[in-house]
Symmetry: C2
DNA sequence: AGACTGAGTTAGGTATACTTAACTCTGGAA
DNA sequence: TTCCAGAGTTAAGTATACCTAACTCAGTCT
């Protein structure tokens, strides 16, 4: 396995994650640029370079978009495994709170050795998910599929269990933490406001009803428990 | 404090360490090139760049050599603090042996946050030295001075306590470990072979006399205990 | 079918940090 | 005091990954 630059690893990871969130087959330049914090021109340049490389990590069609080859996907999953193991380790061993781990893990993920990965995985007892509930890819690149949906898409009356929360925004994580909304907390949708209005939910962590904006519910994933 | 690139941090660290080992006021291009694994031309280029920068980290005189400014030295010590804290942490928390930590720490030292540094320092109880016996600079940049000399320079008949061992060569570290020669092991010089010949020492870790080559004794530092 | 718009690309340029090859300086020995 | 070897520098070029500005494409709306 050749080693890839942090930049390349970030691109592969971003392609994987955007495809995952958006569901679309192909990932566009603009979405990548947005996620990576670079210009669209930079993304085009990198995609051309990667597509021309003998590594065959991506399939890139001009004006259409990118997707990962199996090899590219495996590499992306290795980086994601690093990231999620690190987040779990920082929480469990060094007392980081769940809103602090993301940035640190983003830097460390490109730098740790396979040995380091193995040691923290063993220390943690080979965990299945990180502090935000995201599943941790196994060494062989396998990732258990989940039947999770956005809290946004949970129908009124339905009950769900939080399976995962996006780790991107520390502010959001602190907010959710204050509300006690983290995996595997159960909740029920009571009401949905008009025009993408707030979602009213009931959870055992709060005696009163909680109203959540779209921004929030888009970043919270749940597994449906009942269809009342 | 501005952040510096891994390359810059490596140069500052190397300048500091070479000056330390060699004792000379100025560090030469060749020594830096050797230590950093790059060509002499590359070193010249980087030194010119650093000297021209408004950061004022080094003082560089063409054809003469470099030295660190107080600011450069402080930065170097911060990197070295990272390195030695990491080595200690990897040993104490993740079960690395002392010959495995150097490479991992070399990569991690450029990437960890101040927060991470603080957390591992606290976890370790703010240790004074790393697994090889090297002193760990404090946060304020202070470093307790030691009265240590090379084992090479310990006179016949003198007794010393190993204070530090170079962490550069894993092979050497495994060798020393097998002989039980690590801080703060005491030993006595029995005899010195001719022509930089082997140094014969006696240590409580071995019933028989141990013969050490120059390559080895140059990398072992001791504090003189007695002058018999 | 044509035009518009947002997404995407191209062209040209920057910064970092490295290389090789050829040249120059410095300090010690003859 | 000159010469020479090794240390150091310069010049030119490479690779990576980013930028801005200007252009083009694709798909939709009319």
């Amino acid at each position: 396995m050749p080693r890839h630059s942090p930049a390349v690893e970030d691109y592969l990871k971003a392609i994987y994650e955007i495809r995952q969130e958006a569901g679309a087959k192909l990932v566009g330049t603009a979405a990548l640029a947005e996620k990576l914090g670079v210009t669209r021109a930079s993304v085009t340049g990198m995609l051309k370079k990667l597509a021309a490389s003998t590594e065959h990590l991506i399939v890139y069609t001009r004006y259409r978009g990118v997707r990962l080859t199996p090899k590219g996907e495996k590499t992306a999953l290795e980086v994601i495994r690093h990231h999620r193991l690190l987040e779990t380790y920082l929480t469990a061993a060094l007392g980081y709170s769940w809103d602090q781990v993301h940035t640190e893990a983003d830097h460390l993920e490109h730098v740790i050795s396979e040995d380091f990965e193995e040691r923290i995985a063993a220390f943690l007892g080979h965990p299945q998910s990180d502090p935000h509930g995201a599943p941790i890819p196994q060494r062989d690149g396998s990732l258990p599929a989940r039947r999770e949906i956005r809290l946004t898409d949970l129908a009124v009356g339905q009950e769900g269990a939080i399976s995962r929360v996006s780790d991107r925004d520390p502010e959001l994580l602190r907010y959710l933490d204050r509300l006690g909304l983290r995996p595997p907390q159960r909740l029920r949708v009571l009401e949905r406001g008009p025009f993408d209005g707030p979602l009213h939910i009931q959870s055992s962590t709060s005696p009163s009803v909680i109203a959540l904006s779209r921004r929030v519910t888009d970043d919270v994933y749940v597994v449906v428990l009942s269809v009342n």
